[in-house]
């Protein structure tokens, strides 16, 4: 392995949230570690539950997700009393509408990225959802 390759590994490791790294090949072993967990400001003292913390790096669910293409209100169905577009366990086709996102009174359809099975609906109906937040977890096929 060249130094250049090691540098790339180090840079990738450094930027990641990973704190230990061990690589064994027949020729060599590389171990990297990060200590300390560089402090970030905690929640404001005496303030109510820190919503921001919950929003920011939302715990990554297992498996791929359809994420919010814009900030807006999440709707699982086309109308309050209608059936949801999809339910857990549904098999959907690529391009099929799986939910709506409302922004500025405009309804935006969100489509399945591939043929897949719905594994979980991750947002409450009517919730304000940040850009990039996971909406629906799926499994390919």
């Amino acid at each position: 392995m060249t130094n250049q390759e090691i540098f790339e590994l180090m840079a990738r490791f450094d930027q990641s949230g990973i704190t230990t790294f061990k690589l064994n090949t027949k020729d060599f072993t590389l171990e990297l570690g990060k200590g300390g967990s560089a402090a970030v400001p905690a929640a404001p003292v005496g303030a109510p539950a820190p919503a921001a913390a919950a929003l920011a790096p939302a715990a990554q669910p297992d498996g791929p997700c359809i994420t919010a293409p814009l900030v807006g209100t999440f709707y699982a169905a086309s109308a309050p009393d209608a059936e949801p577009f999809v339910k857990v366990g549904d098999k959907v086709k690529k391009g099929q509408t799986v939910c709506l996102m409302e922004a500025m009174k405009m309804m935006n359809e969100v489509h399945a990225p591939c043929d897949c099975t719905i594994e979980a609906i991750l947002q409450e109906d009517g919730a304000l959802v940040s850009f990039g937040d996971p909406l629906i977890r799926y499994r390919e096929g």
Partner: protein, 461 residues
Amino acid sequence: MFKRILIANRGEIAVRVFRACRELNIEPVVVYSQADSEALHVQLAERAYCIGPARSADSYLNVDAILTVAQATGCDAIHPGYGFLSENADFADACAQAGIAFIGPSGDVIRAMGNKAAARKLMVEAGVPVVPGSDGAVDTAQEAKALADSIGYPVLIKAAAGGGGRGMRRVFEPDQLIPLFEEARSESVACFGSGEMYLEKLILNPRHIEFQILADSQGHVIQLGDRDCSIQRRNQKLLEESPSKALTPELRERMGAAAVAAARAAHYENAGTIEFVLDPEGNFYFIEMNTRIQVEHPVTELVTGMDLVREQIRIAAGLPLSRTQEEVTLNGHAIECRINAEDPSNDFRPCPGKIDFVHLPGGCGVRVDTGLYTGYTLPPYYDSLMAKLIVHAPTRLDAIRRMRRALEELIIEGPANNTDLLHQIMHHPDFIRGNYNTGYLEANMDTLLAWSRSGEEEPKA
């Protein structure tokens, strides 16, 4: 008063507005791009929403996303900060249409002051001096000569289509006017295919002096004194102070009155800034109005003791100004230094990156406005402002000495920055004497950088 304000900005100004909201018991809602999820304004907020990817056009300039969050969270007002949407008339209109107060003037006022020709015309009508010159195109060399003779030399001839100095000539002697006019026009025709020419007075060695004004919805207009922003690099302000050493009390009075007249003529409401150039003889000319809070507003806050962001919010809520003109007193002297993540020794190359350690100055008469913290990574997508250091002291010399020690205390480990350049300016004789204009930084950059280099080598010796 408002219940909830959306802060449509990032960096130190988002933190600044956040603080004003907290102090008014108004709930702040913040927004951020994907690149800013670790930013201080997001860390401080209880309600924060990601509005798009890193690119400003997709996030901080994304009107739909911002209004969506404002409406969904029940905000009754939006503070735009500076930059981004702060001088976007359509955004101000969109807020009004959505029933949300835009903390700033109306879209119409922004539009009127954003059009330089219209603003110039308005100021002329209001009796505010503007740079003398042709109000439109000058058709012939003879017409140009007559105009130049009437406004006095030197003058600047410039092609409407010109750029990069092409089609532009400075004329110092009357008998040079006609030949240089013809020359410039020929050049413009050759280069740009247009012979449309303008002429205006050439202001040599000007100071950039601006006046802070406040205007409420009840028709009260006051000015909060001047700021000298002549220390600039490529039209980017680096250091501001109040009061300017170039103004006599009488001149300050006259310029302040002109600033108020300008704001009145514009039917202005909220905080704004009237920018003037001042020539060495004490003649001043309106150049433009900034219809938003400025980066350098803290120097005015320190000399007046007034909280300008608080005033902005009060005005937008329909409340009267908290002081009359007579109640505004200017105390002492304030200086602001902009700490930028750019490397002066490397042609001011921007230097984003991880802040490994930061230690901010404190103590008597020192204020810091920043979004930095130890461990924060400055993203490469936005401006390079890391922190504003602002000092206040009874006299200008005391303020300079206080700024020196504040700069000495500031430690930022990680990205290169301009702290040392600022420190050198604080020791430069012309700056100490207050003897500088907008050409200062260009004229003295080599000296300042050389001092900086020699200082750096010392510890190694």
